[in-house]
């Protein structure tokens, strides 16, 4: 079945099973490899991306739900001229260890600072349930707060 949507602001058309998880369309059909397969059960969050600005676990999202919509992966978070505050903070706080789960965390975090511009520790813990088995959570919290500050400074 032919399905049209936009990915990182570029229109694409794929001819796949409409039940195919968006994760595999993004990775194998569109060759965008930032989004990761973790548990395949919508639990760990490694596959997190945005559809029309909302957070989704793409391992559990049939591609048919993306039809006509705007999908954003980590590759599309920044613009050509401007790195996203989350990416900048992640670099400055040297967050990743093995790095595998980080794209999912960053997509969830980008949505978080959009919704809560100055998040507390509790805001971060209660709104992001992604899992990092390296245990980078303390650095992730610091990075999200730094990203929120960068975002606020950029608006002044």
């Amino acid at each position: 079945m032919k399905i049209d949507f936009s990915i990182n602001k570029k229109p694409v058309s794929v001819d796949v099973d409409p039940e195919m998880p968006l994760l595999w369309v993004v990775r194998d059909e569109l060759q965008l490899k930032a989004t990761k397969f973790g548990c395949g059960r919508a639990m760990c969050g490694a596959c997190t991306l945005h559809v029309d600005g909302e957070v989704y676990r793409s391992c559990a999202l049939p591609v048919q739900y993306a039809a006509g919509k705007e999908v954003t992966t980590l590759e599309g978070l920044s613009t050509e001229t401007q790195i996203h505050p989350i990416q900048q903070a992640w670099i400055e706080e040297e967050v990743p260890q093995c790095g595998y789960c980080q794209p999912g965390f960053m997509m969830a975090a980008a949505k978080l600072i959009q919704e809560i511009p100055n998040p507390s520790d509790e805001d971060i813990k209660s709104n992001i349930s992604n899992i990092c088995r390296c245990g980078t959570h303390p650095r992730i919290i610091k990075a999200i707060k730094r990203a929120a500050a960068i975002q606020q400074a950029s608006k002044i």
Binding site: E54, R57, C59, A60, S126
Partner: protein, 196 residues
């Protein structure tokens, strides 16, 4: 002697009048009271309805607190899921982050239209059978529904009907859907009684 006779006559008359009044009151009350047999039918049907309401498929998303349950063992929903302001999750993670219009057999994530929690006022977890019955027909605790509205909701709503098609690893309610619908009609048509 005549005084005693008069007193006896008055007593007998009074008793007869009182008895007549009770009889009249009883006769007048009959049309306003649902016949005992019908009420029993309604209450018996309600017991079938109750079995469904207490099923994990219904109870898991009618939490009395802010966290839904999941699974047949009704453990608290993992991934830090909570009610949020609109009963559909938080600002980042919403119900639809993972749950869509139908069951997802790849990830085994259940899904149905308008997946979400029942409002806090409709929390059922922890209630006794008696409390649950009263809450069900209390418009302050059932979303303002009349008994007719309740029967429509429970017999036709797509999210409620998902309970009988819950996907692998999730047990449907112990009453089959046709029997449940029949019990709803039986309950409603006989006065929509709940145990008091």
């Amino acid at each position: 002697m005549s005084t005693k006779l008069l007193a006896s006559a008055l007593l007998i008359t009074s008793l007869w009048v009182l008895g007549s009044h009770s009889l009249i009151a009883e006769q007048q009350a009959v049309p306003r009271v649902v016949p005992v047999g019908d009420k029993e039918k309604s209450l018996a049907a309600f017991q079938s309805i109750l079995k469904v309401l207490k099923s994990p498929r219904c109870m898991n998303c009618h939490p009395s607190g802010d966290v839904p349950s999941q699974g047949d063992d009704q453990h608290l929903h993992r991934m830090g899921v909570s009610r949020g302001k609109a009963d559909h999750g938080g600002l980042v993670q919403k119900c639809e982050t993972c749950h869509h219009q139908e069951n997802n057999l790849y990830a085994n994530v259940p899904g149905a239209p308008h997946w979400g929690l029942a409002p806090r006022s409709m929390g059922w977890q922890g209630l006794s059978d008696l409390q649950l019955g009263k809450a069900l027909v209390d418009k302050n605790k059932n979303g303002g529904r009349s008994p007719q509205d309740l029967v429509k909701h429970m017999g036709q709503d797509s999210l409620v009907l998902w309970a009988w098609n819950p996907g692998p690893g999730r047990t449907p309610p112990p009453v089959a859907l046709p029997e449940f619908r029949a019990a709803l009609n039986e309950w409603l048509n006989n006065g929509a009684h709940v145990p008091q």
